[in-house]
């Protein structure tokens, strides 16, 4: 197994002009992007210190990918300011992009080339010499658990393998910042866990991870801090735990009374827990103690078809903030 420390160098300097304590690798102020009349990103501001795993959580169409494209230096902002490693991506596109590793939402590997050649070719875009690339490609294939596929054509790979190859490709230049746009969308649970493990190793190495996701479990697993985005605006910001603490209760009681009764039973549940949320398929009771809440429900003579007590998650935070679910 390749030591991850060899894959990503630790002491690559952050070229910040000042010596101020937290070095922000990304600073966005009032970042806005409009396409005609549509405002995809509506004046968002955030700062990401070096080494943080920073997430943008929100439903499809929230403006996450657009934000990523602006950070990635491939899409021009309409207004606001943006700085990556102290550089404006619109003034210094190639310099900014040379600092980054990018995993796009849609794989864009060259399917006509072999797996290993995809890495070599990509490294050439950074002007990296072949002597470096040959060894680096082998290391990254091992990191991505694709060594035995090195000479396979890309279209012979499974979705999870393609995703891992895309991540390996994004690491060819040893970036200190990795942008991941919906890294595990469309993958089965096992493939997702393998991927999370790889990303976690990178994080341990001090690589700054910027990721978008609409999976709350992904955000909880990987992100030190995240912003919840909806309709181009930031709804909340904080660590997963602090967001849950601030916007939800410790536990949630999920009750199902059958689709025709969920709505009507609401009135009879008044007063149990701190908050009640009625969804088409279930009723959520937010309470510090879920079991106690369930006892109160049964004490009122109500008999739900199923009941479940669980910890609050980011999904609940999102529901609270927007009144909608993350995944439609």
């Amino acid at each position: 197994m390749v030591r991850v420390s060899e894959l990503v160098s630790k002491e690559s300097p952050v070229s910040s002009p000042s010596d101020a304590a937290p070095q922000y690798v990304i600073t966005a102020e009032n970042l806005t992007k409009r396409y005609g009349d549509v405002t995809a990103v509506d004046g968002i501001s955030f700062r990401v210190p070096a080494g943080e795993a920073f997430g943008l959580l929100g439903p499809n169409g929230a403006g996450k990918s657009t934000t990523m494209k602006m950070i990635g230096g491939v899409s021009q902002r309409t207004s606001g300011s943006l700085s990556i490693m102290g550089l404006d991506p619109e003034q210094h596109g190639p310099e900014v992009r040379a600092h980054l590793g990018v995993v796009p939402q849609q794989d864009n590997l060259d399917e006509e080339l072999k797996v290993r050649d995809n890495l070599l070719v990509y490294g050439r875009y950074f002007g990296l010499p072949m002597s470096y690339l040959r060894r680096k490609a082998d290391e990254l294939l091992e990191f991505a658990q694709l060594t035995d596929k090195a000479n396979a054509k890309v279209d012979a790979l499974s979705g999870g393998m393609k995703r891992r190859l895309t991540i390996a490709r994004s690491l060819i230049n040893e970036p200190r910042i990795l942008l991941l746009d919906e890294p595990t969308t469309g993958l089965d649970p096992q493939a997702r866990h393998i991927l999370w493990d790889r990303l976690f190793r990178l994080k341990e190495q001090g690589v700054t991870l910027i990721l978008t996701t609409h999976y709350m479990d992904e955000a909880e697993q990987l992100c030190d801090r995240l912003i919840v985005v909806d309709k181009g605006k930031i709804m909340a910001e904080g660590s997963p735990a602090s967001l849950i603490r601030d916007y939800s209760t410790r536990e949630v009681l999920e009750l199902r009374f059958g689709s025709d009764r969920n709505a009507s039973v609401g009135a009879e549940l008044e007063g149990i827990g701190e908050r009640l949320e009625t969804l088409p398929d279930r009723v959520l009771i937010y309470a510090h103690d879920g079991e106690a809440a369930l006892e109160q429900v049964t004490a009122r003579g109500l008999r739900p078809v199923t009941s479940l007590v669980r910890r609050s998650s980011l999904e609940d935070v999102f529901l609270r903030l927007t009144g909608r679910s993350l995944v439609d």
Binding site: V74, Q76, Q106, N108
Partner: protein
């Protein structure tokens, strides 16, 4: 955290982002060309067969078969050279233009839409203009290679008598670019393939191939269709090719017009392509 390794090989380190960016700014188009050429290697045999097989078939059928009929009716119309020598430059130029019609259409669509291969390098230090440039450089290499092969076959048939006949390899490359670059800028605007490229092949490339003085001098055609030749890179290229291949005599100003026409079309196509690539990738 970095554990010192005791192995003999030095630790692998990429050069700094600053070096990456500086190199990409300077050589980016060539880096992308490298990628396209690697992909072309995958269909290298097609390129060789196109370069060798096609001229052999054409030269044999037209230059040997058809020529016996044509020349029986007096070879004077072809400037005193054999029919084979007359059509060889035209076939060479046409082959490059037909290659252009393929290489500057489907791969561009593939880059932007089908497999989105342009968006990989787009996230790297390369610029959209360099990606367009790389595509052009790689196809130019193909033009040169294929035309050189084509020319070698033509020479073997004894249909390239002039000392400067080899220059027709460069003329074919230029003609390919002057047709291909405007086409590339058009291909970069297409968002949905509704058979536009097949239409280009059928209604632009084929008429140009047939009415560009390819098989008979342009002035044997009625004026009503002669204009097709005048706006055709195949005709301008072919006339130039004939000048270098067998000393075809034409007014010097006309030679200059051919050259300026081809260079102008290529330059305009390049400017439009660059602009379109940048516009489409920024959106």
């Amino acid at each position: 955290m970095t554990k010192p390794t005791t192995t003999a090989t030095p630790a692998l380190r990429a050069h700094s982002p600053e070096v990456s960016a500086a190199r990409a700014r300077r050589w980016g188009a060539f880096y992308y060309a490298e990628q396209v050429l690697r992909v072309m290697k995958g269909y290298g045999w097609t390129i060789v067969m196109y370069g060798v097989g096609q001229p052999v078939a054409y030269l044999f059928a037209m230059g040997v078969g058809l020529a016996t009929l044509v020349e029986a009716n007096g070879a004077g119309a072809f400037g005193g050279v054999s029919y084979l020598t007359f059509i060889a430059p035209a076939l060479l130029i046409s082959a490059a233009v037909m290659t252009a019609a393929n290489e500057f259409t489907f791969p561009v669509m593939d880059g932007f839409k089908w497999r989105r291969v342009y968006y990989g390098p787009h996230a790297s230090p390369l610029t959209p203009e360099q990606i367009a440039g790389g595509q052009v450089i790689a196809v130019t290499v193909r033009f040169l290679l294929q035309s050189a092969l084509y020319f070698a076959v033509v020479a073997l048939f004894g249909a390239a008598p002039g000392t400067w006949a080899w220059v027709s390899i460069l003329i074919a490359t230029l003609a390919g670019l002057s047709f291909g670059l405007p086409l590339m800028s058009y291909a970069a605007t297409i968002r949905n393939d509704k058979g536009q490229f097949a239409m280009v092949m059928r209604f632009i490339v084929m008429p140009l191939f047939l009415f560009s003085g390819t098989f008979f001098p342009l002035d044997t055609l009625p004026l009503g269709v002669r204009w097709i030749g005048w706006i055709s890179p195949i005709w301008h290229g072919t006339e130039l090719g004939r000048v270098v291949s067998y000393g075809y005599e034409e007014e010097p100003w006309l030679t200059i017009v051919h050259l300026v026409f081809l260079l102008g079309l290529a330059a305009a196509g390049w400017v439009l392509s660059k602009r379109q690539f940048a516009k489409r990738m920024a959106s």
